[in-house]
Amino acid sequence: MSASTIAEIERHGAETALAEIRLWFELYRLQERYISAIDADRLEEWPDFFTEDGVYEIVPKENADLGLPVGIFHCFGRPMLRDRITSLRNANLYEAHIYRHMTSGLEFTMVDDSTVDMQSNYVVVQTLTDGESRVYQAGRYFDRVVRTAEGWRYQRKRAVYDTSRVQTLLVTPV
């Protein structure tokens, strides 16, 4: 983003339109609800934050930077999102764990009236049964959200994580 772009945004910002605040607020609240649902283990709600064809991926930054596609989650559409949760609830074995998401650095750009690209830093602090809390994963979300009849939904959510060394395993989406 060049200085002049910043300047533009800012000049505009100088008389920030309420519409911009409102848009930001809706996007911000979407993200707040998203992380709250996960951290409260309301994982059955998780697929509903996406459009029916929503794509969710978790990819290590070391691959993303090299243009390599592989990640640890690649879900195409709500059915696959639901399958992940069904498997987590019924099939997979993992230690009890608690997530706390922190987010900052939200940036967004309008693609069209009902489509927005947004990014945000995230840090997940995880607590295991030993009762110690550790930084489990840091990264940045690269999202495309669309306005639907039900409100804003993720059409694509790509979590690009810095922490390439996943501790033990990852079963709960970030």
């Binding site: 070391e62 690649h74 069904t86 060394r165 501790q167």
Partner: protein, 424 residues
């Protein structure tokens, strides 16, 4: 490089000798998973000893001067491709005062320059340049008897088979072709029968001893029991058959699971007729389980550990090799290198990506393996005298019992080979 006498460390723990109470490998004293003394000895006798450690796919370094940093045991090393397309490998420790020379995970470079005093080396690890070698302002530099040839980076033997690159410290190690051996080569030939493309890696850090993972991949007994995804969604298909072979020394292993008669791999075929063990549980997106036939033999699962650092795998249409890196007695890093074939259609490439959900740190059918090894580490690191037992199928010739997949024969063989290597 100036060699000091070999360490006097031996296989003891807290001053007490480690003892395998039975000759057949059916008892594993828990100290071997947590003893620092044993770990130090393993570095010397296994990783710096007569073994070949997997370090890279050739597909990661396809072009002249490509390089990749990795490890042989605890020792940082680099594998490079030379201008004549040959491979070189060297310890990543400057011949001057010991700094890491190559500080990038991967890249392309004609020369490698140490940051500290800018000594430079070529892709083969030969010392090429020393700043101020001849001094400056009439002041002397390096002594006249200093010879570049004696001060290259410590070379490692390097060789590749079917695009898998290995390195070894020891002159005693047999040639790679023989090290892999006649029992294992067909498995690698099968997976790597045509050019591949590297698709990226994922990493997992496990709080357990590296040998617990080597056991895990030689342990067909756990598969259907630990990984409930199979049973929950009935991924074990009717009439699935196994073939399991191992190398003569017991250190390498190769398991394959075949589709049964009339199973064309298409999940639709059996989707409806097989009820889930847990009533009502169905995968919605069953395409995840489609197995597209790519080989003469219609194999669902191929797991092939080559001791000590490699596991070659095909899970349906996901292709990956796993690298096991020890990080002290109580930790190891597991790196999954995914690849596809150069001639993949876009659809097949997408299908492989989708099936990447099955393996790796978040793998629907493999995430439990790392945890299982941690469960053992946590229960056995308290220093009490106890030993694991591996008796499944004991007393029957391995070849008779192993094909069932319900056997610990290869675990016993692994530990017999381990004692041999370690001189315990």
């Amino acid at each position: 490089m100036n060699e000091l006498p070999k360490p006097a460390i031996n296989g003891s723990h807290n001053g007490k000798p480690i003892c395998f109470p039975q000759a057949d490998g059916s008892r594993i004293p828990y100290e071997v998973y947590s003893s620092p003394e044993i770990y130090a000895l393993e570095q010397e006798r296994i990783f710096r000893g007569p073994t070949w450690s997997f370090v890279a796919l050739e597909a990661e370094i396809p072009n002249p001067h490509d390089f990749k940093s990795s490890f042989v045991g605890d020792t940082p090393m680099v594998v490079t491709r030379n201008d004549d397309n040959s491979l070189s490998a060297w310890v990543n420790r400057c011949a001057h005062r010991g700094a890491i020379v190559c500080r990038s995970a991967r890249g392309n470079a004609r020369s490698h320059v140490c940051a500290y005093h800018q000594w430079s080396y070529d892709t083969r690890g030969n010392l090429r340049g020393i700043p101020f070698k001849h001094g400056v302002k009439g002041m002397p530099g390096m002594p006249s008897d200093f010879d570049h040839k004696d001060h290259g980076l410590q070379p490692l033997r390097v060789d590749s088979y079917r695009g898998l690159v290995f390195a070894s410290f020891s002159d005693q190690t047999p040639p790679l072709y023989d090290y892999i051996g006649p029992a294992m080569r067909p498995g690698i030939d099968r997976i790597l029968h045509k050019p591949i493309v590297y698709l990226g890696c994922t990493r997992q850090y496990v709080k357990a001893n590296w040998k617990l993972y080597n056991e895990n991949v030689r342990d067909p007994y756990h598969a259907s029991l630990l990984h409930a995804f199979f049973s929950t969604f009935n991924i074990y298909r009717a009439g699935m058959r196994f073939r399991i072979v191992m190398s003569d020394d017991g250190m390498h292993d190769w398991l394959m699971a075949f589709h049964g008669e009339g199973d064309d791999g298409n999940s639709a075929a059996y989707r409806e007729k097989v009820a889930s063990f847990k009533e009502g549980l169905r995968l919605e997106h069953t395409a995840l389980l489609d197995n597209v036939k790519e080989y003469d033999e219609f194999v669902n699962t191929h797991i092939q550990p080559i001791f000590p650092q490699l596991v070659v795998t095909q899970i349906q249409n996901t292709l990956a090799v796993r690298q096991i890196l020890p990080k002290g007695p109580g930790n190891f890093e597991l790196i999954f290198y995914f690849f596809g074939y150069a001639d993949d259609t876009p659809e097949m490439r997408t299908h492989r990506m989708m099936q990447a959900n099955l393996v790796g740190p978040a793998g629907l059918i493999s995430m439990e393996d790392g945890l299982a090894t941690e469960l053992v580490q946590r229960a056995t690191a308290d220093g009490s005298d106890a030993a694991a037992i591996a008796e499944m199928g004991r007393g029957v010739p391995d070849e008779q019992q192993i094909p069932s997949g319900i056997s610990e024969g290869h675990i016993r063989a692994f530990w017999r080979g381990y004692q041999e290597l370690m001189g315990l």
